[in-house]
Structures are given as structure tokens and as C-alpha cells.
């Protein structure tokens, strides 16, 4: 029958390849992609992961509905297939198709003119974690070669858990996702993995079947709460109070794991009882280093230098409490106490009864959960939600404190299950190579080893991780990366917003501007503030990212302030995004399945995500590697034509346009992107992060490969654990089992930050603070979160996925609030505050917290009236304390410590639109 054939034809194919989706879910789900000469027909999860351990469930099948419907987007209505030039005003929606030659020449001319007139730091790139490594490498390589500026992605998207960094000196203590199965108690806290981590959420339910208890702590009864044993409703933004109350119970009921606290944390370190400053080496001994810290050894009843090279206590018995008389170089008699003692003082404010008044959780619930945590291997499953709260750092510091008191890191099933980078070292090595091949790789690796050895000789008690961060720091000023807060402040109109005292933390003693100028004047961000206030941004590149949708502060910040000053806005994208709609030139990029790529290397599956080219790109789309190769050559040619071959970069070094094209491709050494991927993989094997035999051919046959080591560089080493073939990866075992110090100022998990600004804010020791009134004094609190049906905006145009939800923007509001306001489900409502207003449909539910409004992340502004999205009401306030730098571990690291904008807990009003 004809119908039978039609059905069979629908599921027929000529070729099967491996694919994954290099999106900002950062998953590495291996798919099989079935294609014919007519294009991709369909995809399905490949389930090719080996079982790591017979007693732990495997990763298969890693997938979600977005990935399984991805191929529809290759030919979706918003797909970009031709270079476009704006034919009307910016954002007017009028375009003309142009050739690649025209497009590239126009962009090249703008770049050369900008560099000639304003210098290369006037050419600004938004960094992204979307698009995979080949996408990132292409624009970063071009930006680096011309001396441009790349705005640190994490300062833009704010996936930076600053409280983890304050505590541990590094990004996160994320293990591989299967380690969750080893937990006895899982706290889903500030996350909703059933929505946002679909490929891994099964580990939580499997752990539950295995006897673990699962508790969800959230203002809303989320989809993850449904699969939990207990749900703890909590007032929005009060998690620090809740956590500190649990700490109070753990201490009060003598449940503290004392030796863990003594060895792993700064709790026994001595501080001046009056100034709350650590007793430092220079206070005691002229010869001692500044970062030598002390404790009181109860065994010898004497002041003792805390070991710098190990966390092991050896024969010491450091006092956790008490007051001690000390003689310092400057004073004969000062009173010293311990960090732990300061904590005890602090916790007096956080008895369960007192905290309950803040967080709304019953004191008995607090006590019961605290007792459970103290007796079980506990893991906090946390996303990047806390990171987006103004005082998210306090919440995270308090969470870390709960884990510290109960020895809950560095053992299987413990820690914080967020996300951390794994080491695909071949990627980093590639950028340092001048030639192709093993000999050059070895030269680079030997060079890194040599540099590390030199540093080690100068600092014999520093760990490889610390040395790695030092090495990274040394390269920063010569690099392109810049924390974007300064760019936003000087060039995007955020000075007015961030100086709004009413939206800021009321404990600030000075204006935001005074703090910012002070931090710059002190040189804390020296060489990183670029383009500085004296350089006009001129050309703006947005590659595989979407700032107009995402930027906190909405369209106002960029469109009204930055945009008018830009000569050229270039968007490299595969679909017509909100940012592409506002561009001058749009360059169509190849999509997943149309190009070879590697996903970012992260801890979730602890495996490589590889995507093979299955079909040719739609229309005239090209890969970013090809686009920036064309642009490199065109910029060189245009500069020669315009007779401006040389220029000075931001460091006053002379650069030449001549040879730019050849430098980009290393003299055409890499004919195809597959050659580059192969080089990444083989070099990673050389560096020890992938097993021997890692190659493109292997990936084509197998689709995935598990990492075998942490590699040479600090981000990988930050996991601080031995990678074993037959065990899930548990972060931080080196700290616990081997006594390897943390990369913090005190070399311990640090809970006292004795920086004067932190002291001034009364945040030197962790505490709770209410979310500041960002947006104004209004009755509702807008939160956000990732939706179930898209990865940011990437699947919003997918026709099949659109059938799984209402396919239009919606705000989830509480039934009782809706009743009071006369709002029915589906009504058009207005969300407004002093920052702006947005119209959106109401989805009325009883499952969220009274006073809470959720607008899930990802709707494009052009899906709203007047193209104004919900980010318009988000001021994107930056916490001033994050301007602190050059204090031990509080110093800029790419993707790490820096001021970042907040967008959760924004105060708004709601009304029904007539």
C-alpha cells in the first residue's frame, strides 16, 4: 500500500553519524543521526556509554526532547541561510541578501577602520558557551590575533557560583553526575533537575530506589519536588538563613564532624578578636610569609603555624574555640580567637526559631534535616540559580558551611552537584601550537611543565592547582578576556542603574561608583578593564549568542546606549535571533549536524561530546571557522589596501595586519575542521586527559570517550581527584584523602573573608541578607529558571516542541494572588517595576509560593508586544563586593571571580491588562 511506503520512507536513511548538540545545556548526549541526500531524517539517543561500575547505573540514554527533535530546526522558519545586510533602520526588520564576498568585505572594512581610529580594543566580542569548541575557538582566535576584547561569558550569563569560589577558591566541586547515586541524602536546592538536567535526573530517582532520601528545598513545588521524599517550601532568597539555622542545630546538638572541620577549613585559624583579621605571618615573624596563618595547638598549648603544604593535622590538635593572648611584632598583648568562635557568635542570630521567621520553614523541619545531613553522605544538587541572586554568594557560602560541618565533600555521594569544567587539554594546547603534530605538542607540554617547575621552585609548598592558577593569571593581561561589568558600566548605561541606592544593598556605606572607582584606582582589575572609558566600542560581534534576549536590563542597556555608538554590529548565527534582528550584518552559521564539532568538556558525563557532519549546511551557511578564516584574510587585504598595515594594541605593542590570514590557519596547515578536532583529541591523549587512542576516527566509530585524567591546566585540576576507570568521579578527594590544600588565601575552605570591604558589609562571616529591592518597592518577586521545553531560546522555534507547551510566553503566578487581582489563567497581564514593564499571559497555579512570579528563561523579545521581553524589568544589579580583587583567591579568573549581574528576586507589580 502506498501509505505503508510513505511511512517506511519517513524512517529510511542512507547514512548514520554521531551527533550531539553544542548548546548551553552543556550536555554531551550522544545521538545517532540518520540522513539521506535530502537531509537529516531523524535522530535518536545512541546509548553508547559503557557502564563505569556494575553497582552504579550508567549514563544511558543521555538525551532529552530538545535533542531528539533538533533536526526540525535545520530547516525551521527562523533558519538563516544567506548573508544579510540591514536595509532599513536597526531593528526595523528590513534586509537584503548579499554575497559572502560583500558581507565579509564590509565587516573587514569596519574592523580595519575601527582599529585604525580607536585601536583594536574597540572591536568587542560577546563570549559564549553556545556552539561548541569549534565555534568558540574561531572567534577567540580571530579576536586574539587582532588584539580585540572578548567579554567573559560568565560575566554575561552569570553562571558563576561566587560563594563556591569564596569558599573553595575555585569554580565548583561538581562530581560526575553518576556520583549522585552514591548519596544517602540528596538536597535538590535552588535547582529543578527534572526540567533542566533531564539526561541526568534519573540518577536521583535511582538513588532514591537505592534507599537515598531526596529533599527539595524551593519556594515552588517544582517538577523535581514531585519525585522527592520531602518538600521544604522556603521564602524566596532566604536560603542562607535556612542553612545557617541547620548549622546552628548541628553545632548545638554536637553533631559537628570536628576533625574534618579542623583539617579542611579555616575554622581553627586565629583572628584578632578586635579587628577580626587573621593573624598573619608578618604579625608574628619578620621572616614569615604574609599568607602564613596560625592556630592554637591544644597539645602543646602554644601558637603554631598552620601547615601550608598539607591539610592533614598530623600531631596537631588545633583549638576550635577560646580566646588566646598573643604577642605580635607590633603589640605585646592582643586577644585572638578562632574563626569557629566568630561563627558561633554569628549563629546566635540563626536559631531555628529566629531563622524560621525569615525563611518560613518550620523549626522542627530545620532540626530534622540538619540531623539527617549530619548522619548521611549528603549531596546538594544545585544549578546556577543561586549564582543569579544578588546575595547568592551568601546562600552558597552557607550551603558550603553545612557541608563543612558534616564532612560532606571529597567522599562519594557528597559535595555540590553543579557543573565544572573537565580538561580537554588539546583545546588549550592548540592555541599555543605553531606547527601541527606531536613534536610541537610535546614542545608545548614541556614548556608548560618547565614553567610550572620554575614556579614550583619559587613556591615549593604550592600545589599544582595553585601554580596552574598563577600561570593562568600571568597570561591574562596579554589576553583578550575582560570582565564585562566594566564594559557595561562605562559603555552600556549601567552606571545609572547600579548607582541606584534604593535597588542596592542598604548596608553599602558608599555609592557603587565610589567602590568601582576605588577598585580600579587600586589596580585590582589592572589591564582587564577594556575597552576602558577612553575607548569607544566601535564594532560589536555576537557569535552564537543572544545578548538582546539575555542581557539583564533588557533592551535599554544595549539598544539605547551601546547600539547608537557602534559603527557595525555583526551577528554570526544559525537562526534569526533577537540579536540578529538588531544587527547590521548577519552571517549565517552552520548548525548541529551540518559541521563537525566538540562540545565543551565538563564533568556531567565526564566524556567527550562529539558531533559529526551529517549533511551540508543549509543554503550558504558556513562554519565559524570558515567565516573567521575569510574575515582574517579580508581584514589583511583591506588593511593593505587602506595603507594601514601596522597598529598598536592595548598594551602599546605594535601589531601588523600583514600575515593575519596565514596566522589564523597556521599557513593553511589545517585543511578541514576535522583535522583540528583530530588534533585536539590526540593532543588531549598526549596531555593525559583522554585515553591513548583518542582520535577523530575513534569518535566516528564510538561516539563518545570518557576522560582519563585531569590534565595540565588549573580548570581540570580543580576537580582535585584521581580519575578511575571503574568509579564515578568524586570531586575533592585529594583535599580529603591526600590533604592537598585548597587554592584559597588560607589554603583551606575559607569561611572568613577578612577583606575590609567584606567586614564593612558584615559579610566577612557568612550571614543572611534579604534580596535588595531591585526594581523598586513592589509586592511580588520575580524569579526565573530554565524551562523544560527549550535550552534558552534555542528550541523556541521548534514546531514539535511548541506543541508540548502553550507556545507563547507565560508568567506563572500563584492562584491566591491571581484571585485577589482578578486574573484568570490565560489572561494578559502586565509585570512592571521602576525599571520597565512587560506584557505576558498568566499561567495560574497553586504550586508556587504566594507572591512569587516565575517567567521561565528563553522567550525571545520579539515574542512579546513591542519586542520587550521580561529582562526589561530586571535591573541586573551587581554586588559591589565582587569588585574586590587581589585578595588571595579573590582575583579575576576567566569564567570565574568577577562582578556579575543578578536577575533573580526582582521586585515587580502585576496587573491585568484590560
Amino acid at each position: 500500500m502506498a501509505g505503508d511506503n510513505a511511512y517506511r520512507d519517513r524512517w529510511s536513511w542512507d547514512r548514520v553519524t554521531f551527533g550531539t548538540h553544542c548548546l548551553n545545556c552543556l550536555a554531551t548526549c550522544p545521538y545517532r543521526v540518520y540522513s539521506t541526500e535530502d537531509g537529516v531524517q531523524f535522530e535518536e539517543p545512541a546509548a553508547v556509554f559503557d557502564q563505569v561500575n556494575p553497582n552504579v547505573p550508567d549514563m544511558n540514554p543521555m538525551s532529552c526532547q530538545k535533542g531528539s527533535a533538533w533536526s526540525l530546526q535545520l530547516t525551521g522558519p527562523d533558519r538563516l541561510t544567506k548573508p544579510l545586510r540591514r536595509a532599513g533602520e536597526r531593528g526595523e526588520g528590513k534586509w537584503e541578501e548579499i554575497s559572502w564576498e560583500e558581507a565579509i568585505e564590509e565587516v573587514a572594512e569596519s574592523v580595519v577602520e575601527a582599529i585604525d581610529m580607536e585601536g583594536p580594543e574597540s572591536v568587542v566580542f560577546e563570549e559564549t558557551v553556545e556552539g561548541g569548541l569549534l565555534t568558540q575557538m574561531s572567534y577567540l582566535r580571530f579576536a586574539s590575533l587582532i588584539g580585540g576584547v572578548t567579554l567573559d561569558a560568565n560575566g554575561l550569563i552569570n553562571d558563576f557560583p561566587s560563594g563556591h569560589h569564596i569558599t573553595f577558591g575555585k569554580f565548583s566541586c561538581a562530581s560526575s553526575q553518576d556520583d549522585t547515586f552514591n548519596s544517602e541524602l540528596i538536597l535538590i536546592w535552588h535547582s529543578n533537575p527534572v526540567y533542566t538536567a533531564i539526561p541526568y535526573a534519573h540518577f536521583i530517582t535511582e538513588a532514591r530506589y537505592n534507599g537515598s532520601d531526596v529533599v527539595t528545598i524551593a519556594p515552588d513545588y517544582s517538577a523535581s519536588a514531585v519525585v522527592s521524599d520531602e518538600y521544604v517550601p522556603i521564602n524566596i532568597g532566604t536560603d542562607a538563613a535556612f542553612a545557617l539555622a541547620m548549622c546552628q542545630v548541628i553545632i548545638e546538638e554536637d553533631l559537628v564532624h570536628t576533625s574534618f572541620v579542623q583539617s579542611q577549613t579555616d575554622m581553627p585559624l586565629l583572628v584578632n578578636a578586635e579587628t577580626r583579621r587573621f593573624i598573619r605571618g608578618t604579625d608574628i615573624d619578620e621572616e614569615a610569609p604574609e599568607d602564613q596563618f596560625y592556630w592554637w595547638d591544644e597539645k602543646t598549648d602554644s601558637l603554631t603555624a598552620a601547615p601550608r603544604e598539607t591539610l592533614f593535622l598530623n600531631d596537631h590538635v588545633p583549638a576550635l574555640t577560646g580566646t588566646f593572648d598573643l604577642k605580635t611584632r607590633d603589640y605585646d598583648d592582643i586577644k585572638a580567637t578562632t574563626v569557629y568562635q566568630l561563627l558561633l557568635d554569628r549563629l546566635e542570630d540563626y536559631t531555628p526559631e529566629k531563622a524560621s521567621e525569615i525563611c518560613g520553614v518550620n523549626p522542627d523541619t530545620i532540626r530534622n534535616l540538619a540531623r539527617q545531613i549530619a548522619s548521611k553522605r549528603t549531596k546538594i544538587v544545585e544549578g546556577f540559580n543561586t549564582a543569579k541572586y544578588y546575595h547568592g554568594d551568601l546562600m552558597e557560602r552557607a550551603m558550603c558551611l553545612v557541608l563543612a560541618l558534616t564532612s560532606n565533600w571529597g567522599r562519594p555521594g557528597t559535595g555540590i552537584q553543579g557543573l565544572a569544567l573537565a580538561g580537554l587539554d588539546g583545546y588549550q594546547i592548540f592555541g599555543m601550537k605553531q606547527k601541527r603534530g606531536i613534536q610541537e605538542t610535546t614542545r608545548v607540554i614541556d614548556g608548560i611543565d618547565g614553567a610550572m617547575e620554575q614556579l614550583r621552585e619559587m613556591n615549593p609548598d604550592m600545589t599544582d592547582e595553585m601554580l596552574g592558577y598563577d600561570l593562568l593569571q600571568r597570561g591574562l593581561v596579554a589576553g583578550t578576556a575582560s570582565p564585562p561589568a566594566f564594559f557595561h558600566y562605562y559603555h552600556c548605561g549601567y552606571d545609572e542603574t547600579w548607582n541606584n541606592e534604593e535597588w542596592s544593598d542598604p548596608t553599602m556605606a558608599k555609592s557603587f561608583d565610589e567602590y568601582l572607582q576605588d577598585s580600579v584606582r587600586r589596580g585590582w582589575w589592572g589591564g582587564l578593564v577594556k575597552p576602558g572609558p577612553g575607548t569607544d566600542p566601535t564594532v560589536f560581534f555576537s557569535v552564537a549568542t543572544n545578548p538582546i534576549r539575555r542581557q539583564r536590563g533588557g533592551a535599554s542597556g544595549l539598544l539605547e546606549t551601546l547600539w547608537p555608538n557602534l559603527e557595525k554590529i555583526v551577528v554570526v548565527e544559525n537562526r534569526m535571533s533577537a540579536t540578529a534582528l538588531q544587527a547590521d550584518i548577519v552571517l549565517p552559521a552552520a548548525m548541529q549536524y551540518e559541521r563537525p564539532n566538540l562540545q565543551y568538556a565538563i564533568t556531567h558525563s565526564f566524556s567527550i561530546g562529539y558531533s559529526e557532519q551529517a549533511v551540508k549546511p543549509q543554503g550558504d551557511a558556513k562554519t565559524e571557522w570558515e567565516i573567521f578564516e575569510l574575515l582574517s584574510k579580508a581584514v589583511e587585504a583591506k588593511a593593505i589596501e587602506m595603507d594601514c598595515e601596522e597598529y598598536q594594541d592595548g598594551r602599546k605593542q605594535t601589531r601588523s595586519f600583514v600575515g593575519l590570514g596565514a596566522r589564523y590557519t597556521l599557513n593553511d596547515l589545517y585543511e578541514k575542521e576535522e583535522d583540528i578536532i583530530d588534533e585536539f583529541l590526540q593532543d588531549s591523549a598526549e596531555a593525559g586527559t583522554l585515553p591513548q587512542g583518542a582520535s577523530l576516527a575513534y569518535m566516528k566509530e564510538n561516539g563518545t570517550m570518557r576522560f582519563s585524567g585531569l590534565g595540565l591546566f588549573a580548570p581540570g585540576l580543580s576537580l582535585a581527584t584521581d580519575v578511575k576507570e571503574d568509579e564515578p568521579v568524586t570531586a575533592y578527594t585529594w583535599h580529603v584523602d591526600k590533604g592537598v590544600p585548597f587554592p584559597t588565601l588560607t589554603r583551606r575552605a575559607q569561611f572568613l573573608i577578612d577583606h575590609p570591604w567584606f567586614a564593612e558589609a558584615d559579610e566577612d562571616m557568612v550571614r543572611h541578607k534579604n534580596p535588595p529591592k531591585q526594581g523598586g518597592d513592589y509586592p511580588f518577586l520575580l524569579t526565573s529558571g530554565h524551562s523544560r521545553w527549550s535550552v534558552h531560546a534555542s528550541s523556541m522555534g521548534n514546531s514539535i516542541l511548541a506543541e508540548t507547551h502553550r507556545a507563547e510566553p507565560l508568567a506563572v503566578i500563584y492562584q491566591g494572588d491571581a484571585d485577589n487581582l482578578g486574573i484568570n489563567d490565560g489572561d494578559l497581564i502586565q509585570l512592571s517595576n521602576d525599571r520597565g514593564e512587560v506584557e505576558i499571559r498568566a499561567k495560574v497555579t497553586g504550586r508556587i509560593h504566594p507572591g512569587q512570579v516565575i517567567v521561565y528563561n528563553g522567550w525571545e523579545p520579539h515574542m512579546f508586544k513591542d519586542w520587550i521581553g521580561p529582562n526589561q524589568v530586571e535591573p541586573g544589579m551587581v554586588k559591589w563586593l565582587h569588585l574586590v580583587s587581589r585578595y588571595g583567591h579573590l582575583r579575576y579568573l576567566p569564567f570565574g571571580w568577577q562582578p556579575v549581574p543578578a536577575d533573580r528576586a526582582v521586585y515587580i507589580d502585576i496587573k491585568k491588562v484590560a
Binding site: K435, R436, G437, I438, Q439, T441, T442, I445, D446, E674, D675, D678, E679, Q682, E686, Q692, G693, S695, L696, A697, K700
Partner: protein, 221 residues
């Protein structure tokens, strides 16, 4: 003093090194691969003479003197009744002709597209500082080229001053044997025997198959 020669491969100009090193167990392995590579190259005046004289096993034994593992290269000679033209024609019909019964190209073995395998092998050559010579008539997946590559890797292992680089070349040999040569050489030897080839080819194919397996065991240990 040990030196190596390349025929089907060229060294990337930037990485060319002209080093002579003392004989040792690693150069012995390199030497064996070099001789095997010559055996499986399209016969010429010199190789015909060596074959007729039955000198291949002796050459192998000579270069293998310092090998760290035992191996028996046996005895083999080409009958004088076989002319050089017949010898070359037989080589081509058995190994290199279209649909040759015992194809000498690794891409002809196993599932999948041959060009994909050729591309993979070229990438490996390039990563290790070589490229398939444009002047050579041999494909990158030709057995003689693969053996020549093993000869080169072993030499580089012996000649590397950097322990890291030596380790890399060592692992590369292990990998290339495991992933490429050993994957198809046993079948190749079976096919040669099955097609009633000249005894010298049966001997050579079995000898190279046995040696590569022994060498992999040695490298893995």
C-alpha cells in the same frame, strides 16, 4: 649505527632530523619493520635478487639481532624459475589489482568506507610529522607504507631526547599496531595462503603478521 629510510612517506620539512643513533632493541624493531616494508614493496631489481637469493630472512635476522623478544623468521626463497616480470605481475594481481584477492590496502578490510580509513591514516601520519609522499605510487593505507611508518616511529622513539616524546612515539606504535595493522594482517595472511600465491608471499605475510603480534605484546608489556 642505525639510520632509517623512507620511500612512501616524507618527513615534514620543519621536523626533519638527520640523526644516527647506536643500535639497540628499539632500532632493531625499526630495522625489522624497514625490511618488511621493502619485502612488500612492488618488486624491483634489487628486491627480486634478494628474494631469489633467499636473503630476506637473513636480512631480518641481522637487523633483529638486538630484539628484546624471540622471533623466528624461518626460511624463504623465490624460485629461480619465476622471472622478475612474473614476480612483479604476480604481486600486482594478488595484492594491488582491482578486486585483488589479497588486497594489500588496509582500507579494503573490515566494514565502512575506505576513504574514511585513508583519511584517518593520513591524519595519524601528519600528527607524527610525516605525510604520504606525493611521488610514491603507494596509497597511505598500503601495507608497505604502514610498515614504513612503524619503522619511523620506532626510530623516533629511540632518537628522542625528551622522555615524554619517546613515550608518545612508543604509545603511537602500540596504537597503530592495535588499531590498524593487527586489525587486518591475520586476514591478509589467510587470504594470501588461500589464493595459492607464491610461497614467498605466504611466508612474508605470515611472518609479518606474527611479528606485529609479538611486537604488540612487547610494546604493551
Amino acid at each position: 649505527m642505525f639510520v632509517y629510510t623512507l620511500d612512501g612517506l616524507e618527513i615534514d620539512g620543519d621536523q626533519a632530523q638527520d640523526i644516527e643513533i647506536e643500535d639497540n632493541e628499539i632500532t632493531a624493531r625499526s630495522g625489522v619493520y624497514g625490511v618488511f616494508s621493502k619485502i612488500f614493496t612492488l618488486p624491483n631489481d634489487e628486491s627480486y635478487t634478494v628474494s631469489v637469493n633467499g636473503a630476506w630472512p637473513a636480512q631480518l635476522r641481522e637487523v633483529a639481532a638486538l630484539l628484546a623478544f624471540d622471533t623466528d623468521f624461518g626460511v624463504a626463497a623465490l624460485s629461480e624459475s619465476v622471472s622478475q616480470d612474473e614476480y612483479a605481475a604476480g604481486y600486482q594481481s594478488i595484492f594491488e589489482a582491482e578486486n585483488a584477492p589479497a588486497a594489500i590496502l588496509s582500507g579494503e578490510y573490515g566494514d565502512g568506507d575506505r576513504q574514511t580509513r585513508v583519511d584517518e591514516i593520513k591524519r595519524i601520519f601528519e600528527y607524527f610529522g610525516l605525510k604520504a609522499s606525493n611521488d610514491a605510487a603507494r596509497s597511505p593505507d598500503h601495507l608497505a607504507t604502514g610498515l614504513e611508518f612503524m619503522q619511523y616511529l620506532a626510530f623516533k622513539e629511540a632518537a628522542s631526547a625528551s622522555p615524554r616524546l619517546a613515550g608518545s612515539f612508543h604509545r603511537a606504535q602500540e596504537e597503530f599496531l592495535e588499531r590498524h595493522l593487527i586489525r587486518w594482517l591475520p586476514e591478509f595472511a589467510d587470504r594470501v595462503e588461500a589464493v595459492d600465491a607464491l610461497p614467498i608471499w605466504v611466508w612474508a605475510s605470515q611472518a609479518v603478521s606474527a611479528f606485529t603480534q609479538s611486537d604488540l605484546d612487547y610494546l604493551s608489556s
